[in-house]
Symmetry: D2
Subunit: 344 residues, 4 copies
């Protein structure tokens, strides 16, 4: 009765998810794996009892014993496999981004709406983090009143030399883009990007740090500092300033050490350590929803909206100007529209 | 290939564990349940597909399809069922305490040693808590040097009227007794109990708070404040003072709230909220060890040692005197003895 | 041998400073007081042994026994009295702002430079706060590398109904304007003001909160959230993000309280509680410098620069655009120019 | 109109106090200095305008222009000079301990009572620390209900080789002895000393750490960890556990630094850094009380009580037993007796 999952894409994050599905989560089995690099697919599958290797992602999706699909290829291939899964009527979990352009996201949304059943979940795993969930609960319970300003920081110790200024928007800020929409239950109306003097630890081409400013439809501002060469560790902050108080994620360190004249706590080394449980919970809940014949978590619309905002962000990074976000009307399929406002 | 578990005792903690085993953990199924109250066993089993009700715990243990046993009866019945499980050669997970007297623990140890294979795990779930594990790692890595003093606090918001002074030793302090042995890798040599003026929130018969002082074989002191009517929440503290620094569990609150003139974080309401993940991990690791044909976690010896220390604690509570702990020689079956010292 | 001070302006802050000078600080005496409201001057002077009342501020400044002058009138009158003090060759401590327009500040600077001796100190008392001083020391010691982004928050529980949107720039943000210049040792090159949706706790005319974005000459950004109806207390934050780490003011609460399910620390009720010691130290150091025939602390140039930035901020608030700061060349009289950069 | 102070004893702490009185505090002048080492007195006085050197402490006390006396000699000489000051009818501020034996303290009390006017203040400067004052206020306001247990830690980075086990009681624990009496407004009835295994960082003769357990008259317990070679800095902790919550001193670090994988705050290097302001306030308030013809702060009775408890502590250290504190009846001269209880 376990959900039989086929995985398309067996790179880093793909292997991570395969391990989770095959070894840590209950009620699920990995039965098919494909990768552009056949040898890699072979090597990965060898460690997963009961998993067969397929020549292509399409084959994975098409196999009868595959109940549901996980897409963890490079972003450019996401659209193709997600559309195939929709075409096959199979639930599909797609790592973020849903697709690399807003237009591609739109095509996915159209296919899913035409299909008539919600099949797509996007991998915005922060929505499954215990801290962010408590934050959302605090907002919904009215503990700080209506949110007015949100301060975020998203810092990595360092990034590979191949990391570009645009990836800071597309791969880093996209997390705060989604989490802001989710926490505030509103769409983003405009984006601006501040470009501070660059860290000498960053490559010569890399604009690092950046400050991305999101304005929501109702006029709240999200100020998001992105700094991918901060040097000291992985540090995720979020403080929501409301009309009657503020509420923030706590510091991550579990242990307090007194030594050598300092009182200190740990900073996680990277996102794996910080969000390991969120990844587990994300997939387990997806598995459970699939097993129950339903759907849950971030939708294709969420994936599209994040991409549309990131697109505006990239333009803002280029022009230095505040850039309005262009968002199509939300299909009723994805439930009631978020609260909307007058800004933008 | 899942481990088929039989559960003896379907009260509060039993139902908790059944839910965990049947709904949250992978690689395991609950196939048999017994309880002194047959109707309760019936009601609980009805929610667990594939679980049958047995008339007695002995029947649960004896059924062929039961691979392993979980004992969650009242403490007085632990000995009987753990011995039966050993007799049947089946792995048994026994909630703490292993048994209510040191003599009973000894009988279990003898049976297990005679059987020749490690079968018993005691439910000291703090060893599975991420915080305590990080603490142990920090000590073993020498981050604070040799431990000299350990400060613990164990506070509950309140307890039922039936809670007795002795239960503060047997049911509360037993956690710090075990965790101290584990963190310091030493046996406890002596116990003293301080009895401060009583809280007016405690019942007239209840000595609350108490300060239990444990002295290890090598002369370290553990100072454990037990306060089961502290009023404000569930609060577990542990700071290890070593020769070159101190290391402590961090505060539990995940969110920081600024409101009404205060900056505050949450205190968990009770042990469920604080240690939910530790319970999960404890059982999952047990299941996995069982599936692998091995054993892990706290042993019968650990259960016995904790009981022996608690016995000395009860005497110390009665006499007001420092009381030496009487501990038999440790069977080699349970691995190398802890580091020993000269105190006592 | 005490410094004999004359005070012009005996309103709230004037009385505060008189009490400090007369009762808390050593080496100083208040000998003359004037106020536009003669009865108020009279009442205040009655509590200060040895202080005479003068009919006008000019009389205070002119009296032979007055060694030095403190100006605590309304801002509009600052220029006049500071110029008079310079004319009389007497050291003058002027509450911020130095004057209400950049042009007026310039006239003061010209007078002081023409006079040839530094006489003016502006009341930017945060430079005397232990926390900010430690912050500056940490930056100068290179603990976090070159600063790239600074996050500030400046929150008041509430403000009177007379508080205007412009005052948030002129009276609140001016503190972060000065402290940023001082911490980073750079001038501000441009200002932008974000206007989030308004708090319903603010009056109908008040844009509250505001986010003021300062760009320094070398391209660092200061992001300053101003929120004067935050409801929960007085909360001042400052985190400097550098190339190799970040350093921030600690939380203000001295005591940690565990009660009613929360772990909490205090938030000061207002700026008096938070900065009481800074005010003391500011005046004591001024007194001491005066007694020694020297000068110290924020200069007239600092007062001018802050006003010039605030002017740009007001324009930015009105236009919604990034606004460049117009700053005259810095007289060599005020020491070496700050490090400059290429942004702007 | 300044209070003219004579200082007897110009060693480390004496020079500290002279600097405070002569340079930092208002309303006071140092006019006479004596020291057993005449050259040292000469050298110190040379830096204090208006201060003369006297051949003996008695001469300091006897000089007509000396209004009040500060005694900062070695402890053994305290009794003699305090008695002389009382004999001369002059207020005397005596560094702790008041005297080195309870009997000597008693002689001082008798002399002061016979004299009929309160003249003696003992240098327990923690009572002037902002943190402890807030703690006392929180207790008195009933924020945590009736105190039941107090946890203290008193840690120094290291001590000179001359430091003895007895000094841990007499010089270190004496601070918590006094502060406990003051916070709880009760006398100490009994003392016990735990002697954990010794730190290898301590000298071979030094019992370090020690855990001193004080039981108050009403049955509260104070658990005080003394560790004078803790290695990492100067760390003072105090948490009061009451019937409805706990309240504790906050951590000392002002700045929060994120760097190299750690989030850390400072630990003061020593007691000077931690309690500098308390020393200032202590002396300023004494000066002010003297100028007003009154008295304030810790009394001779407080000095005696602390010594009596320390004596019991030394016996407890020697015997390993709980030792009752012998305390004479409190003269009505020192105000109403503390709340008393039935323990002991």
């Amino acid at each position: 009765m376990a959900v039989r999952v086929g995985v398309v894409g067996a790179g880093n994050i793909g292997q991570d998810h395969i391990r989770r599905l095959a070894e840590r989560l209950r009620g699920v089995a990995v039965v098919a794996i494909a990768d552009a690099d056949a040898a890699r697919a072979e090597a990965v599958a060898r460690r997963v009892p009961g998993a067969r290797v397929c020549a292509t992602g399409q084959e994975v999706i098409g196999r009868e014993e595959v109940d549901a699909v996980v897409v963890t290829t490079a972003g450019a291939a996401h659209e193709q496999f997600v559309l195939s899964a929709i075409g096959a009527g199979k639930p599909v979990f797609c790592e973020k981004p849903l697709a690399t352009t807003a237009a591609a996201c739109q095509r996915i949304i159209e296919a899913e709406v035409a299909n008539g059943r919600r099949l797509v979940q996007v991998g915005f795993m922060r929505r499954f983090d215990a801290g962010y969930r408590a934050l959302k609960r605090a907002i919904e319970d009215g503990q700080v009143g209506r949110p007015l300003v949100v301060h975020c920081a998203h810092r990595n110790a360092s990034v590979p030399a191949t990391f570009t200024s645009e990836m800071i928007i597309n791969d880093s800020a996209v997390h705060e883009i989604d989490i802001s929409r989710w926490l505030l239950d509103e769409e983003i109306a405009a984006v601006q990007v501040l470009t501070p003097r660059r860290s000498s630890q960053a490559g010569p081409e890399l604009q690092d740090p950046q400050v991305v400013i999101l304005q929501t439809a109702a006029g709240a501002f999200v100020i998001d500092e992105l700094f991918v060469n901060c040097g000291y560790g992985y540090d995720i902050r979020c403080e929501v300033v409301g009309e009657s108080g503020t509420v923030a994620l706590g510091e991550a360190g579990d242990l307090i050490l007194h030594k050598d004249g300092r009182r200190s706590g740990g900073v996680p080394a990277d996102w794996r350590a910080r969000f390991a449980r969120a990844y587990d919970r994300e997939l387990q809940e997806w598995v459970d929803a699939v097993a129950a014949g339903g759907a849950t978590g971030p939708t294709a619309w969420d994936g599209y909206a994040a991409t549309a905002v990131a697109d505006a962000g990239l333009e803002a990074l280029k022009t230095g100007q505040r850039t309005a976000v262009r968002l199509d009307e939300r299909p009723r399929f994805y439930g009631p529209a978020s609260r909307s406002g007058t800004a933008g």
